[in-house]
Subunit: 244 residues, 2 copies
DNA sequence: CGCGAACTTGATATTTGTCAACTAAGGTGG
DNA sequence: CCACCTTAGTTGACAAATATCAAGTTCGCG
């Protein structure tokens, strides 16, 4: 399976073969992290930058009352903490939702990269800005949509994001997370998440069995969720113009 | 009143006098934009980068059903669209909540800046990453807190942000927006926003009359909102360690 | 003074949360 | 291979938060 980081960055910049080789080197020798473990805890000042190569991790915060909000899913090709070079402390935690493989990249490698590889640097900033745009979309989702549409929107987004890194087919993808995690993404109860999911199943919009999501009719799900992938700023076909 | 852009960036980087002079030049000759007007509409590919110098603007999206979600307030010293250089199209709109003055900075000036002013470039990326951290905090706020605490949290954040650009006193600031705008920030109805606000008033946590918010007891409001300003990544005293 | 926008209030509907039980599924040791 | 055990998923009854609708009321401004 080809390198998810390379695949992702190709959507944000024009890379040369040398760039690709450099990125490939960067992401070799990953280590395994078990499910439900922290990769980086809040308050830390990480020495390495962390890159997810397999599995699903998430950014989250825990409140004093014990509630948890997940603010992003990290899938293959996503960096956990590119921002700490400029911000210093982690203001949130990153943990695995499922077993992951992760690459630890020394800060010095990143510094070298920003000094000598302008196209890659540009691509990494592009990825950071897309993360920010995704955050904005999640905010819209949470503020203005009911639980079922919100969930449908997340499925649409996940399908596209995983397709861009070669981890999803036309209409299905591995989604090895619990309904409780899903609830913490949407800002609702796991009971309510379960009911919203059953709604979607009853409407024939999604199937989700044994850790795989299957979308019988992608345009229909997109219409239901009012999903428009332009906030992902992908160049090329996956951007979903096919929905017409 | 000193330059809000300079004041803000001082919190994220060490600037020289030359840097300050450059930034000061950058932000001269602002133009006026009336209240409730778009500065940049969704779908545009702006030629200039826009910087708010006075007033309040907001990032927002409008959904097919007409509902609106505000994703950020832009106050003096904030850039509207630094990201378009890398992302291309605007995936959301920016409009004024109140009369603003705005500076239009040609793309070429920004390119020159990134090529020849590394400290400023670094400071601008710092500001972008703080925007992203703020977005994450809003997501937590919306997902996990009831309307009254959510509103209290926004007041706490606004107080700190405006203090860092010299637009707020120890315990009060101009807040010239409507309750309807506020509701669109929090993802609730304006009726509900009004009731939450009256709760806060009844508890003695905030006063808000004639476009000015006054906080009688800042530590008490912070405690109620569970506000911890570390996500704003300010260096120095405003970071709010005084709450203990 | 009068007009329109913003704010306030009450009654009621809908969405979402809470609690508590129950069922299904996966993993482990005998 | 099965018995058990833990976790995840499901259901129902009820409570709380929030939305909706419709009618006032106040405020700023010309």
């Amino acid at each position: 399976m080809s390198n998810p980081l390379v695949m992702k960055l190709e959507h944000g910049a024009c890379l040369t073969d040398a760039d690709r080789a450099f990125l490939h080197d960067l992401s070799s020798r990953p280590r395994r992290v078990a499910a439900h473990r922290d990769i980086i805890p809040e308050g830390e000042r990480p020495e390495d930058v962390h890159l997810v190569m397999e599995g699903v991790a998430c950014r989250y915060k825990i409140l004093p009352n014990g509630r948890r909000q997940i603010m992003a899913f990290l899938v293959p090709g996503d960096f956990c903490d590119l921002h700490v070079a400029l911000l210093g402390l982690m203001d949130h935690s990153i943990g695995t939702s499922w077993g992951c493989t992760v690459v630890d990249i020394p800060r010095a490698t990143i510094d070298n990269l920003t000094a000598h590889h302008p196209r890659i640097t540009r691509a990494l900033w592009w990825a950071t800005l897309v993360d920010e745009a995704t955050l904005r979309e999640w905010l819209v989702n949470m503020g203005q949509r009911d639980a079922d549409r919100q969930m449908a929107h997340l499925f649409c987004e996940s399908l596209v994001r995983l397709q861009t890194v070669g981890r999803a087919s036309e209409d299905s993808f591995e989604f090895p997370i619990s309904q409780a995690d899903l609830a913490d993404v949407l800002g609702i109860t796991s009971v309510h998440a379960n009911r919203a999911l059953q709604d979607l199943r009853a409407k024939g919009l999604v199937e989700w069995r044994s850790k795989r999501v299957q979308v019988p009719n992608v345009p229909r799900l997109r219409a239901f969720a009012e999903f428009d992938p332009k906030y992902l700023h992908l160049k090329g076909r996956e951007s979903g113009d096919k929905q017409a």
